[in-house]
Symmetry: C2
Amino acid sequence: MKYKNIGVLFFLMTGTISNAQTSQSIQIKNNIQQNEFQIMESFKELLAIPNIAADPVGIEHNANWIANYMQSKGIQKVQLLRDDNTQTPPVVYGEVITPGVTETVIFYAHYDGQPVDSSKWAKGLHPFKPSLYSNLISDGGLPLSWPTKELGFDLQSRIYGRGASDDKAGVMAIINAYATLVQLHIKPTINIKFFFEGEEEAGSPHLSALLKNHKSLLASDIWVICDGPVHQSGKKQIVYGVRGDTHMEITVFGPKRPLHSGHYGNWVLNPAMELARLLASMKNEKGEVTVAGFYDDVTPLTISEKEALANIPSVDAQLKNELGVLATERNIPLNDALQFPSLNVNGIQSAGVGKYSANVIPTKAIASIDLRLVKGNDWRRQQEKVINHIKAQGFFVTNKEPTDEQRKQNNKICMVVVDDNSYNAQKTSMDNPFAKRIAKVMQLGLGSNPVLLPTVGGSLPLFVFEQELNTAPITVPIANHDNNQHAENENIKLKNFFEGIQIFTSIMTLTK
Amino acid sequence: MKYKNIGVLFFLMTGTISNAQTSQSIQIKNNIQQNEFQIMESFKELLAIPNIAADPVGIEHNANWIANYMQSKGIQKVQLLRDDNTQTPPVVYGEVITPGVTETVIFYAHYDGQPVDSSKWAKGLHPFKPSLYSNLISDGGLPLSWPTKELGFDLQSRIYGRGASDDKAGVMAIINAYATLVQLHIKPTINIKFFFEGEEEAGSPHLSALLKNHKSLLASDIWVICDGPVHQSGKKQIVYGVRGDTHMEITVFGPKRPLHSGHYGNWVLNPAMELARLLASMKNEKGEVTVAGFYDDVTPLTISEKEALANIPSVDAQLKNELGVLATERNIPLNDALQFPSLNVNGIQSAGVGKYSANVIPTKAIASIDLRLVKGNDWRRQQEKVINHIKAQGFFVTNKEPTDEQRKQNNKICMVVVDDNSYNAQKTSMDNPFAKRIAKVMQLGLGSNPVLLPTVGGSLPLFVFEQELNTAPITVPIANHDNNQHAENENIKLKNFFEGIQIFTSIMTLTK
């Protein structure tokens, strides 16, 4: 298969683009194209280094590789930043300060990946042996030889491997955007700082302290986070916010020992049924959470946000088809639904089902729920509302296994264990002047408007940037939406990867 | 510890007993006492033979041991009965026909046991290495040497091992009841037939065919089933019925692949929440099943049954204390609750909880439920009512994984897999003349009234005796109620075991 230069055609054919910009875009595009085999070789090298946050040796190996790679591209002040604890997976930092330039953008990506279970990956794949396929394997993609100039490749093909999309693609795209400018002698219009984290998938436990400790080094006008997927429509996007997140584990107790469901069934209270009743009480048939005050505190959407929502291409029908679902919970579009705080059952478990089913009244029933939060919600307050709701259903609520005394005094007992490792939503104003300029330059680079998303439904602790540095973050993802992030068979579409490099060159040549 | 002859004192001190009966009871009691070490040795031998229904070698070994033991006690026509399939675990059969005697009682017990997981048994115990403890281990019981005449033993001590109570104790008690009569030259007043099954714990899959094939050999006036525990009050009991039983596995479907609970939570329907709502819809706050017509078809209790229920000693407070529960489901006594058909959740499962919890919308949620049936209910009709209820909640009901087409056409989809290996309740009339005479003779032998239980809550396929042989069964259990039947640490209290032998001698010397 020969290389099909869909990208350049696309840039040339669409949109109203200024002549200067078009010429520079083509120059950049061509340069990326000239270097693509070399970039892919390096990307392959990086993907082959195991990057699980729990594996310090692998993490150090990644960090050193990236630091060397940055130095080879002429990035300055390359260094490994750590929390006080020297065992912490380091941030790989570097910068390019251009004389006479006053504005600074800091680019974030992370090089650590989600844990892997190799046995779950498709046959022929290994999380740390990156390989190329002609398409999504589940859509019939076939294994390809690693491309050479002679072989060429197709932009629809995909690299499979842990971190291919989440988020080593981000690291490589950002570094190579700068390298492209260097090769073309294009002067960045902003000072560039590089910030590559090594424990994002472990919940960024040291990020906050690290930002605080390196406040002046990390000074910038805006954080540009490269993480997550592009819009499901395939369009690039800028994301201005994330929902907050907190978890609760709810356990309803029954008899102290499992009871024969014949001899004691319909006499003792069955905790599985009581849990079902409790969960059912939390949402009505319309999908609305019925926990008192659940939707209070929500900061209303701004006019810009409402406009942006109205402009998002609808992917609801496509998604429903993909997922095999007909009805949705609240009968509203996906992106409208994500503007609300949510209550979701992540899992339930009581005794066994299927071949593990026995004729018992279980001793307990457990539900794991997560609460997503929007701007205005406070995670502790949101947890408290749910706890009050449980109490209002007649439960004695404790955070430990109930004592015999508590069992003697209470009809219904529920243990609630809350996750203190939680955080609130974060939103950068869509009227943020820097964010507006980035949106504009992306539109120029892409030749079409990116989707502007007021918030994604998922959560990241982005609040730390505002909290520690008083700087707003926006997210500019590059990965295809079907990248299997966090799961087996993680992959990146080459088109997305190379367009990602182009996007970051646009931001690095930001105009007023 | 020396032998404490609590039993004899008890017999002498209580109740109004005819002189002849008293004298014969004491004679029998003394004979059992003389032979107890020898009986225990044999019991130990039998308990050491693994008896899992799935282990044909162990099963044959048990059957042969029992057949030999029966022959050694002078029982006639000892033989192994099988279904046509020679691989079937055999019934060990024998009989004692006494000239001039016209009435026949057939005694049933089973020698196979529930599967074992040795690792779950208390330290020092092994399911097939029977051992003696001074008391219930969980109440501080200590290991004892196997008793000799010099060492003696306490009637409160317990033998631990698989089958100790369920139901090799029944086999040994029945055989040794007859052996006692032989030694004392007491002529049985009934013809005795012995029927020891070898696959009860596997659901008696060949029992029905076997009864049909040996109809004339198995002719009797009544079946006396020795299985299960005595009343929780410690009193002996006669049980006239069992509830029927059927199972259903209910699966509610969500999206075809697990979805990120942030990006898609509160947009797609969550199957765990839908299952919770469905289960909650099946019972009201008063514990009543709200499935339409669920309590229809129930045959009203007879006057004798109502009287019997009123006379059952209440163990509710004791049980609540033991189980650490305060409220009950319907706020009615245990034995009243068991007169109703029931719907019980045996287990629920959807994605993971605790350390297996992830930020997902699960793809499905499963509940395993069992329906207990009382006289008048039909298991197919009862299943149908539940299926209709599920449909009435807006679900499309299927018995297979839904197709893409079904997913496109239905908002909510539920797979219901019903267990066809189900059966209805069985009840022997409390006015059955034979059962009445057995109750009377037990009262004479015990010196106090046994508890007369119209039904237990549990289920056994006792309907087959009526169906195949047109003969009523009653159950006369001997095991202590805290025997851990079906679980780890199964045990029998020696007092129960030896009193069991005495009880069966009473029935074998039944008077008009």
